[in-house]
């Protein structure tokens, strides 16, 4: 499925338009202030307005001739979206698991998961990377740099 650049521009324009209007409206709930005493809403108001105007310009421009350059479809290689999604999810999981499971263990799981499931490597390689990676990270951050990272229920 092929899309043109104008299509992308339109979607983006609408996104930014919404953002711009949001800030513009939000600015009114915090004090906009006056020209001689600009309040916290001053910049959001004007910037929101500007962004909205620019979005409309982009939107209008997307109906013009120049933007018909063909762009590859969103996910060119079929099921690559799975990799993207999995990677993002693993990041979120890391963030959530860091405190309960502790730094070393979470790191181990994270590395193992990504190495094994995104561009699959052998189990041997996976374990090697995961263990070495988490051990080195622990040494570097906790011992050498004395950063305070969560210990988790496993105690290390």
């Amino acid at each position: 499925m092929e899309k043109t650049q104008s299509h992308y521009n339109r979607i983006a324009a609408i996104f930014f338009l919404i953002v711009g209007i949001f800030f513009f409206l939000y600015a009114r709930s915090v004090e906009i202030g006056s020209w001689n005493e600009p309040g916290p809403g001053f910049l959001p108001f004007w910037a929101g307005l500007t962004l909205s105007a620019m979005s409309i310009a982009l939107l209008l421009g997307s109906y013009g001739k120049k933007a018909w350059a063909v762009r590859p479809s969103f996910f060119p290689k079929g099921d690559s979206w799975k990799r993207v999604l999995l990677t993002f999810l693993s990041l979120i999981a890391y963030n959530l698991l860091l405190n309960p499971l502790g730094f070393a263990f979470t790191t181990f799981l994270f590395l193992a998961f990504l190495v094994k499931f995104i561009f699959p490597q052998t189990w041997r390689r996976t374990l090697l990377v995961a263990v070495l990676g988490s051990v080195m990270a622990r040494l570097l951050f906790i011992n050498f740099l004395e950063t305070q990272l969560p210990k988790g229920f496993l105690g290390f």
Binding site: L128, N143, Q148
Partner: protein, 323 residues
């Protein structure tokens, strides 16, 4: 293949052993975090850095100074009130800011009694200074100029509902004038703006006056008597203005820090601030050094609060109309 596994297990085991911390150590076991509510180079910064070597020696751990300026200190204090009360996070404070801001600022998430004041280390009287090429040389001339040009003089200060702001309001009330208060986030900003002539005047701290003596004109200082570090500068009282604005500073932490850790920190500060060479350094910079522990500091806080409330009521200083 087996060998590799064995090797890995050994490595992991050794590493974990190496990293078992010798626990059962007293406070502090790691670096302390000192939160500075203003910009680098300001009074809190100078005082903190003057104390730093003594504190670090006393406590045996590093003291990391972090800056979190904004909203006249309110940003930092909001965070400090919510910080873990384990004694590892402390910060600088300014009186009267921590009294006035919770009272008058909206959206502020801390209250004055969210904190335990470990020690008041110094205070700086606030005075009035103008830029070098401003056409007044005395407070009297300043007042005349202000009356002739209401709202035209730009007068800088740090934050809203802070010592500087309050001093400005007090001055305007006592003299019946109106100046234009310009809000900065730190003394160093006010300093450069005044030295560069971008603002006309400033109500600012004695320390800044001492360090910029040659580039600005100091008109008056809000102390009980003239300050040795500022020869030739009259007090407001001498000029008939009964105002003694000042800002007191030191270290504080969230209230819930365990009592024994509080005591330990208090001891550290007291030992630092009572050293003669420390006092001498502070005085040379324009501070009025203090040696106060927790109890004294809280007493001071209460008295200042009472005094402020009196002034506010008497002069109706912070009504919405005046802002």
């Amino acid at each position: 293949m087996m060998k590799k596994w064995k090797w890995m297990f050994m490595a992991v085991a050794i590493c974990s052993m190496l990293t078992v911390n010798v626990s059962a150590q007293d406070f502090p076991r790691g670096p302390l975090n000192f939160m500075n509510p203003f910009n680098p180079g300001g009074e809190v910064d100078i005082a903190a850095r003057a104390m730093q070597p003594y504190l670090e020696k006393n406590l045996g751990v590093p003291l990391v100074i972090n800056y979190l300026p904004g909203a006249g200190g309110a940003l930092c204090w909001s965070k400090l009130a919510a910080a873990k009360p384990d004694g590892y996070t402390i910060g600088g404070f300014s009186i009267p800011h921590i009294i006035l801001q919770p009272m008058f600022m909206k959206d502020v998430t801390f209250k004055t009694d969210d904190f335990v004041i470990l020690s008041i280390v110094e205070y700086t009287p606030i005075g009035l200074a103008v830029k070098k090429d401003f056409q007044v040389n005395t407070v009297k001339e300043f007042i005349e100029y202000a009356k002739a040009n209401p709202g035209k003089i730009s007068c800088g200060g740090v934050g809203k509902f802070t010592g500087h702001h309050f001093a400005t309001l007090q001055f305007m009330q006592l003299t019946g004038t109106k100046v234009n208060y310009v809000t900065f986030t730190g003394t160093s900003q006010v300093q450069t703006a005044l030295m560069g002539g971008h603002i006309d005047a400033a109500f600012t701290n004695s320390t800044m006056m001492v360090s910029s003596k040659d580039q600005i004109k100091v008109l008056a200082i809000g102390a009980q008597q003239r300050m040795g570090q500022l020869p030739g500068v009259p007090t407001f009282e001498e000029l008939g203005l009964k105002m003694y604005p000042r800002i007191a500073r030191g270290a504080m932490g969230p209230k819930a820090i365990p009592a024994d850790i509080q005591k330990r920190l208090e001891k550290t500060f007291l030992e630092t601030t009572s050293k003669p060479e420390f006092k001498a350094k502070m005085e040379a910079a324009g501070f009025v050094p203090q040696v106060m522990g927790i109890a004294d500091s809280h007493k001071f806080l209460e008295e200042e609060a009472k005094e402020l409330k009196k002034l506010i009521q008497e002069f109706d200083l912070l009504s919405p109309a005046k802002k």
